[in-house]
Point group: C2
Chain length 502, copies 2
């Protein structure tokens, strides 16, 4: 290609395309890779290129220097620039990746076939994880507008304007030591958890806690019991860890370990939320708690105690955690701050028996080193200075009033359609089919009709893996003010009335 | 136990022990669990208890209310309070967990035996991960004192004083959209990576990126090639994912895929740092890059491109990333901000082919939901407003001068002992055995002697899994100013001179 024929078959974007030398470099490189500029062919002189493309000679020279440095072109003394001869004759095909169609199921199949996703990659991708973050009533989650971000951002500045080495370089992969101390003190005083700060491992949330514990404590193919109905995120983490899941019934006293053991006598772990079962809200009886601990001791099995919303108790006193009841060190306690503070925080913790601290930290480091430090000193101070306790107290009042608003609108507008009972704790209530429906409801159908009307009422049946034993609607109230709750309750009544008569 | 004998066999800590009602509650509960207060026995009247323990009657009443709520005690009308009869006769043994001894190896065995750690838990715990965070020269890592934390903390306040829903509740598990856009623009302009923002997945760092890709793309028992010598963290992540590791030699042109394929013809992935191999610093030749891509295309295998320190290039221009060379979508590009900004940040990213975005995000959600949001808008703004580029430019000058200081002290004080050659990129140099040692050195022994003298010089041999082919010292210079480098260089000379003559 001597002299400078119509070399340049690409356009430069002189506005938003970035540095021109970079664009020229990229364009020439692509032509070389495409074979449009053949190996060994001569490039036009810089002067000619600059003229052709209305570029400065400096820009052209910079682009060619780059191509030279990367070996795409070579210079021969006194004889200009050539496309490198060392480019392999049979290079990879120069084509864009094929793009499968847009139908999700088709896409998943196509991706797996085209790209060769691993079997576990396909399993992971197929685990259902409905998004829980919606603004519509009755979506679950905390009220983020009530969080004291002014205090939070002030603390952020305090710690990060001139951080020391202890903040900029984490020295303890288990977590920032003052945060571990603050969590241990909080858990001891409020939850009856018996632990030293060293037993706390700060993680990115309950999901990672469960994922980590599953890998450290159980092997592929081992069996773990979960509550039925239960939280899908837990089942997902266990499945991802290669565990087999044994569904264990929950009754009015909570998870029934005797029934669980009868079904899965070799189970090595049980995941349980004794303080406030998700989604039913049952508090596990003392009798069942002691039986559970006895099972773990006898089987040398593990109890993963998920204390996901114990902060929000409106009446009575919270029961102490299982962990504090267990003299044998078989309980792994899991807590999270994302529900109490704000969801995108992604900060939680494990409390593990002293001898498991090192194995857990070692495993954690291999998976993702340690938890980011940015929030850790801020949260430690937020707890130590009483902001955490004050926030929880404020939210208790706020959420109690909202639960009452939900109960009120149910009596006033949903009578006969849905029956909603008060719960002493939590952030959602379950609405059961009322007398007007003869106690029977296709909760999935009602949830879909509600969604069409802009109401986020989840069907209880989606919390079952097996055949749903009970049906109802899960109505989150914490994130929605009384007006929104009253309004959504009336609209839900209209949706249901239409659905009953249709 | 009528009337109130010597019930109370525990002391209250009236200073630092927390609320007194809580202590009383906990003490009584423990006595019930221990059997010291037998099921069905009667408790003294509140009045008596209050007197015995010098507590207010209100404090006693609160503690007993709690025990009542939890079912440890029950009241009989007009007849006072009794230890609950429903406590099972044969409860779990009431003893503290047995604590194994303090010898680490013994401890690991004891823990595994006592607690029944899983096989993979033991594997994970046994993966060696030497701590990389030390303050002594020549420890690796960036200079955290040079990071503009003033700007960083100002941005933190800007975004978190009154965050919207898009920050407080992450809507995109792949990352904060403006951050993904900023990363994609940066990678396109500076690294020749071809991607849309939607292909970016924000993760907690390179460790998690490798861990995630291994699980999504490969199955247990699949083989992955790694560079020998190479980075231990990568091997750890692959091992944790159940992969078999194939060591692949690195020569002056970088990883030799032909040699790798001959040894491991069925390998499904290769992990490689083509821009600047760790730890040798080799830049992969274009010929090898194209051969690598051709291998991946032909084998339908994956290239995990670890571009861990590409920002720090002091001479010449950085080579474009492999990812931009690959027309077939077989490259997973991994980058991290923790090395460029500050280590405790824990923020990195993957660039995956468009069709793999959904499977990667789905898998990520199961493992730990998504990356915490706190740093994401801050970093996006830090990049968009040019602070990132300015910081990298400043650090390039700073680190280049420090590399020069290391070269200078080597010439001046280590001549004959160690031979140190300049590197156009990176944050450490390798010091090879000098002529005075006949080119031979027990690098592990020298590193230990140096450590005793307060110098953090890592032995190159620790980067090998197999028999070390080359020995040398890895000297990080980025985090240490010229004075510290000159001083540590002289001390290292003294250590080595003593070691040679001893």
């Amino acid at each position: 290609m001597p002299g400078g024929g119509n070399l340049v078959a690409f356009d430069l974007d002189r506005d938003g395309g970035g540095p021109l030398y970079r664009q020229l470099y990229a364009g020439l490189r692509q032509m070389i890779l495409d074979g449009r500029l053949a190996s060994g062919s001569r490039l036009p002189a810089n002067r000619v290129l600059a003229q052709d493309m209305s570029l400065s000679r400096n820009t052209v020279a910079t682009a060619l220097q780059q191509l030279l440095a990367e070996g795409y072109v070579e210079t021969r003394r006194g004889d200009g620039t050539y496309v490198a001869s060392e480019l392999p004759d049979a290079g990879p095909e120069r084509r864009r990746p094929e793009r499968p169609g847009h139908d999700p199921a088709q896409l998943r199949d196509d991706v797996a076939r085209h790209y060769g996703l691993s079997r576990r990659g396909r399993t992971l991708a197929a685990i259902p994880r409905p998004s829980m973050h919606q603004a519509a009533a009755f979506a679950p989650g905390p009220d983020i507008n009530a969080f004291p971000f002014d205090i939070w951002s002030r603390l952020l500045t305090r710690f990060w304007r001139r951080p020391g080495r202890d903040l900029a370089v984490s020295s303890d992969p288990g977590g920032y030591p003052p945060l571990k101390a603050a969590i241990a003190a909080y858990l001891g005083a409020m939850r009856g958890v018996r632990c030293e700060p060293g037993q706390i491992i700060v993680v990115s949330g309950a999901q990672q806690a469960i994922s980590l514990a599953s890998q450290v404590l159980l092997d592929h193919g081992d069996q773990a019991m979960v509550e039925e109905p239960g939280y899908g995120g837990i089942r997902g983490a266990l499945t991802a860890a290669g565990l087999r899941i044994a569904l264990t019934p929950v009754d009015d006293e909570g998870l029934d370990i005797a029934a669980g053991e009868a079904r899965a006598p070799l189970a090595r772990m049980v995941c349980v939320a004794p303080s406030h079962q998700y989604p039913l809200g049952v508090v596990m009886s003392l009798r069942r708690r002691l039986a559970l601990i006895e099972w773990a001791r006898r089987r040398q099995a593990w109890i993963l105690e998920d204390d996901y919303d114990s902060e929000y108790r409106y009446a009575g006193r919270p029961l102490a955690a299982l962990q504090g009841l267990d003299p044998t060190g078989r309980v792994i306690y899991v807590g999270s701050f994302s529900k109490v503070l704000f969801p995108s925080l992604r900060l939680g913790y494990l409390v593990v028996p002293p001898d498991l601290v090192d194995p857990f930290i070692a495993a954690r480091r291999v998976l993702d080193e340690h938890t980011a430090m940015l929030a850790q000193p801020v949260l430690a101070n937020f707890i130590d200075d009483g902001h955490f306790a004050a926030h929880v107290r404020r939210m208790r009042r706020l959420y109690a009033a909202r639960q009452q608003a939900l109960l009120d609108v149910a009596v006033k507008h949903l009578d006969g359609l849905l029956e909603v009972r008060a719960d002493e704790a939590g952030m959602h209530l379950i609405a059961w089919a009322g007398a007007g429906l003869n106690g029977v409801m296709d909760d999935g159908r009602v949830a879909r009709a509600a969604a069409d009307a802009g109401i986020a009422a989840a069907a209880l049946s989606t919390s079952y893996v097996g055949k749903p034993q009970r049906r109802g609607l899960m109505l989150g109230y914490a994130a929605h003010d009384e007006t929104a709750i009253a309004d959504a309750g009336q609209r839900l009544a209209a949706v249901m009335a239409a659905s009953v008569t249709s």
